[in-house]
């Protein structure tokens, strides 16, 4: 295989991995605080359409990304209010958020189907970004570098900072954290908001960078794959990065197989591969020796302080 093709493949893998990495990083922090938000797909769609609409109107992709973050956060706050303040069931509320996101995004996006937008300029000089080899390092959208920066930042935050420690304490044992005097609900609100912002960016990565256009249900279930990725990574940011690129490779397999004229199996089988691979991976990691649950102990359990 010649090097140019290899580099192209590598770059599409990084591209496909970035949004699930972003969304999964957000969800990882949410779950570390003891909350399970199944609305990732819905928040991503809301982010995708908001980012596209704002970029289309303003001409600035940066404004689009910021708007997507805000929209994702607002959507997450609906979830937060219902599950944290009103102690509603987290699984059902997350599902409701996804159904809501699908409806809202297609309503808002109706007028934007088939339109194009300005895309991000490279942050590196063309000599690097378009170089035949060096583009593998410098040829991406700024969002890609942001996702890697955020992986390091989240890992550092959870491991080495005091607020990170408090967040983990809240996720492991909400009642003890509460009795020491930490605001369990406050910490969880912050985590859920962060998850929403990250899902928002992840969503607009599809509409502003990867495709770039708007179509109904553009994210095609990738939000759910991000959720599976968190389980796969055993709630560790480093493994999340690894897992995201692994999933990205599977997701782009369809693309490359088609391009190479590979026709032994039906294209529908290739399209189903990311989902089958996710199931397979979830099954395989459960076979691990250390089969003790690595999930935060208070995950998905509602907390109501007795006042």
């Amino acid at each position: 295989m010649n090097e140019t093709i290899f580099i192209s493949i590598l770059m599409t893998v990084v591209g496909a991995s970035t949004p699930i990495l972003l969304a999964a990083l957000g969800e990882l922090v949410v779950e570390k605080s003891g909350v399970l938000n199944l609305g990732v797909e819905g928040m991503m769609l809301i982010g995708a359409v908001t980012g596209f609409a704002v970029t289309s109107v303003s001409g600035s992709p940066l404004l689009g990304v910021l708007a997507a973050m805000i929209a994702g956060t607002l959507a997450a706050m609906i979830f937060g209010y219902l599950t944290l303040s009103l102690t509603a069931n987290q699984v059902a509320t997350g599902l409701a958020l996804t159904i809501f996101g699908i409806g809202l995004s297609s309503l808002v996006g109706e007028g934007y189907v088939g339109k194009t937008v300005d895309i991000f300029d490279s942050i590196f000089p063309a000599a690097l970004a378009e170089h035949s080899f060096l583009r593998v390092l410098f040829g991406y959208s700024p969002v890609v570098y942001f996702s890697i920066f955020m992986t390091v930042a989240v890992a550092w935050f959870l491991k080495s900072t005091r607020p990170g420690l408090i967040l983990r304490a809240v996720g492991e044992s909400d009642s003890s954290a509460h009795s020491i005097g930490y605001s369990v609900i406050g910490v969880r609100y912050a985590a859920v908001a962060f998850g929403g912002a990250m899902a928002g960016i992840a969503g607009c990565y599809y509409s502003l960078v990867l495709t770039p256009m708007w179509a109904e249900q553009l994210t095609a279930g990738r939000g759910w794959i991000a959720l599976a990725l968190v389980v796969f990574a055993a709630w560790r940011p480093g493994r999340l990065l690894l897992g995201a690129y692994l999933f990205g490779a599977v997701m782009t397999f369809e693309l490359h197989a088609k391009a190479a004229g590979f026709s032994l199996v039906a294209p529908e089988f290739l399209a189903a591969m990311p989902y089958l691979a996710t199931i397979l991976v979830l099954a395989l990691i459960s076979l691990r020796k250390s089969s003790g649950s690595q999930a935060p102990a208070s995950l998905a359990k509602p907390f109501k302080p007795s006042t």
Binding site: I99, L104, L282, A283
Partner: protein, 359 residues
Amino acid sequence: MLLNLELRREPSRSMLYLTPVIAVLLTMIVGAIVFTLIGYDGPGAVREIFLTPVLDTNYWQDLGVKAAPLILIAIGLSVGFRANVWNIGAEGQYIFGALAGTGVALATWGMEGWWILPLMCLAGVIGGMVYAAIPAFLRTRLRVNEILTSLMMTYVAIQLLNYLMRGPWKDPEGFNFPQSRLFTESQTLPYFGDTIVHLGVPLAFLLAIVAWFVMAKSVFGFQIRVVGAAPHAARYGGFNANTTVWMSLLIGGGFAGLAGIFETAGPYGQMVPQFPTGYGFTAIIVAFLGRLQPLGIILAGIILAISYVGGEIAQTTIGLPNAATGIFQAMMLFFLLATDILVRYRLRIVTPAKLERAS
């Protein structure tokens, strides 16, 4: 003046049944306001979506046809939801069941006989169960979370459907359109007179009533209720956790598969790639709005059917986008979950005078 939440000694039964009504009313009020704010005819949207299908008797047939699959799927899901088994892949089981039934139809194509239709329905039920057995196996054997697997299987089912329609099951006389043969008379559900109501509609309502009877009166129904209400007690009572997972998923899959084959052998009359329309997801809303009880689910199924039929009416009469239906449906679930707190807590209005007395 302050609002205070006070824990009830036991969940309020009246609130349990009142909150779904409150949720639907809130959806109508807030929906009217929100859609007015974003530039649509808000009150008109609520009128067309929630009232026109009920007031105009011409639409009642449509309501029955739309409610039937929602009720069937929701009945099956409610068993699992009661026991905290989260099968959210009913859409996939609905598709796979329909495909299994279609397979029988294609294998018996050209044959005649009363036995073909029941065989197709049986294949639908078994197909749904087989598809739900995969997450059940993974959950009980490997402890893989059924939420993610059952959902992933839905995406796989959609691809399988596309493959079969484009390839092996394509109608040989269909001018290369990706769809199956038209089912013959022995393979389609009979209709009542010249209405659009097929046999699957009364059967769905009948099965819901049977389910109510089983849940309320039988030992099996009692066991399911105990598992949902007190999982620990159920375990001591010899009701194995794995059995619960298997039962929940198989029942959910079976009902979804039956709904699937009813739709193919009923309104569609053949298999087409546009078959998945999200009934499996909407049925989750139906199950919750119906309080996971068969009779409630019948009512909730009709309400969601109203929103579907009304959404189509609003599209033609006032130009409301189709997506509005989904937003209204999601709002119903949001408001139901929000008002759920009234079941467990009492809302107390605390006046300054009372506060002083208390301190």
